[in-house]
């Protein structure tokens, strides 16, 4: 086969590429992360969620540019080189180095997004210190932070999130081990405070995911995953497990209620008192032998 380079293919390519780049940039500008848009996730309310969104916009812009470029050239080739009467195909094939020109930008994209991904992953995982509005009392608490890197001057609030079919149990810091304050379904945390979650499971694999407060982590029995967030304003943030866990998996939701530090302290104290009262009640009933079915 005679190898002939097709002289016009590249110059034509450049004319297609220029409007393409403009269109891509315009699209990226239109779909800016500041405004609510169909093209991206809803706004984040935690530093790591913001990092994820930044990464998303860059990655999706790169991907969209590649996809649009392919389609522009593909459609151009289909329109320009349809079979027509009196037209003969030019039977050229690749000459030496024909793949250099397309390979260079592809390698650039692959390496660039790879480095970018590493940087953003590190950024999203680094636990930021508690802000000025946050819970100062958390300084005294010790966090088991495992794989996450934590600045030494800030002690984040360490909370256990334990998945089970089909709800979440949250254990708050303070108190003796085995006698910790807990809640089901709804996690209450102080605003502007670094929260480190230790996520695990007692039965099958679940997944912790509050879209506004950072990425997903698996709850695997026998293993502990770590994630963190620092909610920037008060409110209720819903989420849902995204790992199939059985018949009622669709209903396995979770809520994070972000409150002021004072309200958080009150909540924990209230829970502690309620739990103590419930314990006393049960103890009394046991000693009175008043619990049906329970024989001493």
């Amino acid at each position: 086969m005679v190898s002939v380079r097709h002289p016009r293919a590249c110059s034509r390519g450049a004319t297609y590429l220029a409007p393409l780049v403009v269109a891509g940039l315009a699209l990226a500008a239109l779909a800016s992360p500041a405004q609510a848009t169909v093209f991206g996730p809803r706004a984040g309310h935690s530093p790591n969620a913001d990092d994820i969104r930044t990464a998303y916009w860059v990655a999706i812009a790169v991907a969209a540019l590649l996809v649009i470029a392919v389609h522009v050239f593909l459609i151009a080739a289909i329109i320009r080189f349809r079979a027509r009467r009196g037209r003969a195909p030019r039977r050229f094939t690749a000459g030496p180095g024909a793949f250099m020109r397309p390979a260079a930008p592809l390698v650039l994209v692959a390496v660039g997004t790879f480095v970018f991904g590493i940087v953003m992953a590190g950024k999203a995982r680094d636990v930021q210190p508690t802000g000025s509005q946050g819970l100062g009392a958390s300084r005294g608490l010790v966090a088991q932070v495992g794989a996450l890197s934590v600045p030494s001057d800030a002690k984040p609030l360490a909370i256990n999130a334990i998945g089970q079919q089909f709800l979440w149990r949250f254990e708050y810091p303070g108190g003796r081990p085995g006698d910790r304050v807990f809640s089901y379904g709804e996690l209450v945390v102080p605003v502007d405070t670094a929260i480190v979650l230790h996520v695990t499971s007692t039965d099958v694999i679940h997944r912790w995911f509050i879209p506004a407060l950072g990425g997903q982590v698996d709850a695997v029995p026998g293993k502990t995953s770590e994630t963190w967030f620092r909610a920037d304003r008060e409110g209720v943030y819903p989420g849902q497990s995204t790992s199939f866990s059985g018949s009622s998996y669709s209903a396995m939701r979770a809520w994070v209620r972000v409150v002021s530090p004072d309200a958080y302290r009150q909540y924990v104290q209230q829970k502690r008192d309620d739990l103590a009262a419930a314990q006393r009640y049960v103890q009394r009933k046991v000693t009175q032998n008043a619990i049906p079915g329970l024989r001493p």
Binding site: A9, G40, P41, R42, A55, Y56, V58, A59, V62, A63, A64, L66, V67, V70, H71, L74, A77, F81, R82, A83, P89, R90, R91, F92, T93, A94, A98, F99, A103, L106, A110, T113, F114, F116, G117, I118, M120, A121, A147, D203, V204, I205, R207, F209, P211, G214, G215, V217, D218, P221, G222, K223, S225, Q240, S241, T242, G246, Y249, S250, R253
Partner: protein
């Protein structure tokens, strides 16, 4: 092929017709070790399951039961013809592989009737362990998937040995048609990934029934081990669909653009790179699992590196169209639709393989939309491109062009809209595998659009399947070589006789049939046959050696 003489040097060989059989047709079909019969069984069965899957509306679970066997069926039929072989190395193993696949597929589907597996698509333990799924549905899934996989591995053994040892003279690896090259790669890929999944399934079965603790964290096992094994297999089979679709497109486009592939070698290397690097990105599916960050970066590296060979392959295809004369029949239409759909899906995969993005999008319908565009684009659109292209070879008839183009439009629109709607819903954090979603999430519009698109897609697929069923017996008669293609399967009759070729062709380039046509032209211009009665019909069967005329030509048949 033109009506003319093909000449060959005299060579001692026995030329036979098929041995007459006396058994009923269905027994013959069920027991024939002819690779073409087995290929038709594979294609027919996988299309039947595709019909069932469309009716059930569960396209996502069809990877193992439809996409791979459809690819393998076409490979089993076409690849031996493309390399100029008269058969396959292990015909009985080949037949056995089909029956294992059928038994497996029926087992899985049968369990849907009495007790479906309720452990999810990949049956991840501990959910699939006997503590949490104490029903026979999971067992049916394990056994069914295991049988089908065992069949695929048997198929791969036969395929690899055939492609290594039974190529016709001159058919070097570098001259092999891209579809056969993709077949060889998928054979090797199955030999690597198949046993891994078989091992995982066996361990899961032992855990469930014999007190094993492979995946039981409480007793020192690791649920993550199963995830690693299963995702290695599923990523590999994803690559397999991609590679086979790539092989089909690389054979279809040059034929209809009337132009050789821009770079045969480049396409081969691209496919090789996808097969070698793709499965190594398996932990891209485990970004959220408790594994070290370094593992996730390793997966991201291979996922992103894949952009280079895939991008170059697409460049290769566009450069093949460039300067050609594209005849937009149904086959190239489906192939172009497959390129478009797969490109969109792979773009989404590229974005969600960047680490923090994956943490956000994994297991949402955004990731599902990407995968859908790639697998349905490659599996269904690519599969139908292959069917339109090779249907005349299988049956001697063309697959209806008009109905094919209507079906194409419906399928393409369905895939685009469904993939985009689910992608956008996933951006708003809609999880996968849910059967209901909660009001007030702003997801109603997306889900409505996705449902409508799903129906359009299903209608398109059903129309195309009806088209196949109708054309099988009633399609327009096609010649032996309707497309003017360059590869050897068109040198055989349509449908080919049991031994494929009376004369094993010599191969001198990557376009052997063009060489043969040229040789015929050159000879007929200066040489008239001695007597009209001796002029053979078109096709290989009549290509009898003409004694005393065996100089060294550019190619001889």
């Amino acid at each position: 092929m033109t009506r003319s003489t093909t000449v060959a040097p005299p060579r001692p060989e026995v030329v036979t017709e098929a041995i007459p059989r006396r058994r009923p047709g269905w027994v013959e079909r069920a027991t024939s070790t002819d690779h073409k019969s087995v290929g038709v069984l594979y294609v027919g069965t996988s299309l039947s399951f595709l019909t069932l899957a469309v009716v059930e509306f569960v396209l996502m679970r069809v990877q193992l039961i439809v996409a791979i066997p459809l690819a393998l069926g076409l490979i089993g039929y076409i690849a031996p013809l493309q390399i100029g072989s008269r058969g396959v190395a292990f015909p009985r193993l080949n037949l056995l592989s089909f029956w294992l696949y059928l038994a497996g597929a029926v087992t899985v589907y049968g369990s849907f009737i009495y007790r479906p597996s309720e452990a999810g698509l990949a049956a991840l333990p501990p959910l699939s362990d006997d503590v949490f799924s104490n029903t026979s549905g999971v067992d049916a899934w394990i056994v069914g998937a295991g049988l089908a996989l065992l069949g695929f591995v048997c198929f791969a053994v036969n395929l690899v040995v055939t492609l290594h040892n039974m190529r016709s003279p001159g058919m070097a690896w570098r001259r092999m048609p891209l579809f056969s090259w993709a077949a060889a790669l998928s054979g090797y890929l199955l030999l690597v990934i198949g046993p891994v999944m078989l091992a995982a399934l066996t361990m899961l079965f032992i855990d469930r029934h014999y007190g094993g603790v492979f995946f039981n964290s409480g007793d020192g096992g690791a649920p993550l081990l199963y995830e690693h094994l299963a995702w290695f297999f599923f990523t590999g089979s994803y690559m397999l669909v991609l590679i086979v679709a790539g092989g089909v497109i690389s054979d279809v486009l040059p034929t209809f653009a009337r132009k050789p592939l821009f770079s045969h070698r480049g396409a081969m290397l691209s496919l090789l790179a996808i097969a070698a690097l793709g499965p190594l990105a398996w932990m891209q599916n485990m970004y959220t699992a408790p594994i070290p960050l370094g593992f996730e970066i390793f997966a991201m590296l291979f996922a992103l590196v894949l952009a280079v060979p895939i991008g170059l392959l697409i460049f290769n295809w566009i450069a093949t169209l460039w300067g050609g004369t594209l005849h937009l029949r149904a086959a190239p239409l489906f192939a172009l639709g497959a390129i478009s759909s797969m490109t969109i899906g792979l773009g989404g995969e590229l974005a969600s393989s960047v680490l923090p993005v994956g943490w956000q999008l994994d297991n949402t319908t955004a990731a599902q939309g990407d995968t859908f565009a790639v697998l349905v684009g490659g599996g269904v659109l690519g599969g139908f491109a292959a069917l339109h292209y090779w249907f005349p070879k299988l049956t001697g008839r063309t697959l209806g062009e008009g109905a094919g183009k209507i079906a194409f439009s419906a399928i393409l629109v369905g895939v685009y809209v469904y993939a985009l709607a689910t992608f956008f819903a996933g951006l708003k954090a809609q999880p996968v595998d849910i059967y209901k979603y909660f009001a007030g999430n702003g997801l109603d519009g997306f889900n409505l659009v996705a449902s409508i698109a799903g129906f359009v897609l299903a209608a398109g697929i059903l129309l195309e399947l009806a088209n196949v069923a109708h054309s099988w017996g009633h399609g327009l008669r096609a010649g032996h070589d309707p497309w003017g293609a360059a590869t050897l399967e068109w040198f055989a009759l349509s449908p080919p006789p049991e031994h494929n070729f009376d004369v094993v062709p010599d191969v001198r380039s990557a376009e052997p049939l063009h060489d043969i046509r040229r040789a015929i032209r050159e000879r007929t211009e200066g040489w008239q046959p001695p007597a009209p009665a001796k002029v053979p019909q078109a096709g290989a069967r009549e290509a009898e050696p003409v004694s005393g005329d065996a100089p060294e030509g550019p190619s001889v048949a």
